[in-house]
Symmetry: C2
Subunit: 261 residues, 2 copies
């Protein structure tokens, strides 16, 4: 797909957790954050999943935060021995980390003093200079330092943290999208679609094959920040589909015979 | 989580596709591949998602293939203008790419000659020196070159390609896992769990908070390639849970009062 020209803020996601890499937990955070950022006009450019290993977290953080406007992390801010994200972020930024009085205060709203054991107090460790991100579900906060936004891995908590941090970020012009489901096989459609893409360089035209119950079809997705250009390109795709099979030689395959038996 | 000591083969996954980064398509491939590799004794160490941009694909490929035993890619091998994975892989390896007679032959099993348009013929473009990976679903093959395994993005097709390629790889000793669901909040459990982890350095003990219907619980997962050590560590966790609240001072939090109202 060609790049949509823009100066929108960019972002990367860094998912931290052995359990995702072992396949035991299926990540649901990347898709959710991706959709939310797109709706906010922030271009997600990359996502990475790394294990609970400090050097790996720091290396990925440094690569991503140098390159993108924002880095969103999920996971590794709980109370156990393998929750090392906050410490890794502090090391990456070269700042001290300790129990933060603001974080401790919000945790005291939830926990009895005798339940604030050493493990739970880990969740109040925040790198110096960070802003807290409110966690209305279970109190232990996320935080933002520089362009890095550190969130919980539990989806329900992460969703609320993302809601809370998004309004504080510089958002861009949302990318508009129109999806055109097409009952034509991607390979038949491709040549003509490539020609339409060439005509509309400021519009990103993607096509995604679908396979269900033995039948191949295609979702065509047209994306742009410019409503007029989006409309023109979408109409060109719709006209192509309405007049299928193509008569102008754009599609070499007009037999409609489908696949060999 | 501490690293399980082993000389198992390692792997990375590289998911290629704007549609995943825009949130329009939710990736289901990473979780599936992760689980399958783990069952085969291959340690998944990292996953990345990159857009349909040649330089980005090449940079990620080069970083990952230099570091891990295998790199599994998904996506970008279809017939359309944004399917550029095969060309990017050829560039990364510095080899020519052209229509491969073996790939063309299998595609002719499926397509009528007049349906083999320029777009579909893109799917027969294979980097020189690559081995094909059979695609029994829709014929257009995946391929393996060096330590890079290139698969389709459509899950049903990718699953079959992975099935076909796995027996050709050097597998390791599978990691054994035991999952212990615990109706104790992670923060209560954490101190004692950390002590058990310290006692069993060759076993990886992870704990994952669950939140459902207003109740927090914890999944404890014990993983090792050594069955005896796994058993001993799992029994230690089970004993901890059976005798909860802990009497040895390991858990500072024994009130059972739960959260503040």
């Amino acid at each position: 797909m060609s790049e949509t020209v823009s100066e929108a803020p960019t972002a990367a996601i860094l998912v931290i957790g052995d359990e995702v890499l072992s396949g035991r937990t299926r990540d649901k955070n990347i898709g959710y954050i991706a959709e939310t950022l797109t709706a906010s006009g922030i271009d997600l450019k990359e996502a990475r999943i790394v294990p609970d290993v400090e050097d790996e977290i720091i290396a990925a953080l440094d690569a991503l935060r140098a390159r993108y406007t924002y880095v969103f992390t999920t996971g590794g801010i709980g109370p156990t021995h393998d929750d090392i994200t906050a410490d890794a972020v502090a090391k990456a930024f070269g700042v001290p980390i300790d129990i933060d009085p603001r974080a401790l205060a919000v945790m005291r709203e939830r926990y009895h003093e005798e339940d604030l054991n050493a493990a739970r107090l880990r969740m109040a460790r925040i790198p110096e200079g960070a802003d807290l991100i409110d966690n209305p579900v279970s109190k232990a906060p996320g935080f933002r330092i520089g362009n890095v936004i550190v969130m919980a891995g539990v989806p329900m908590i992460m969703h609320r943290m993302l809601d809370n941090v998004l309004p504080t970020l510089g958002a861009g012009t949302p990318v508009l999208a129109r999806e055109i489901p097409v009952e034509i096989k991607e390979g038949d459609l491709a040549p003509a679609l490539g020609q339409i893409q060439a005509k509309f360089p400021d519009v990103a035209i993607g096509s995604y094959p679908q396979y269900a119950e033995g039948v191949f079809s295609t979702r065509v997705v047209v994306r742009s920040r410019d409503e007029e250009k989006l409309k023109a390109a979408a109409e060109a795709v719709e006209a192509l589909v309405a007049n299928w099979p193509a008569k102008d030689g754009a599609a070499a395959s007009e037999t409609g015979k489908g696949f060999k038996p």
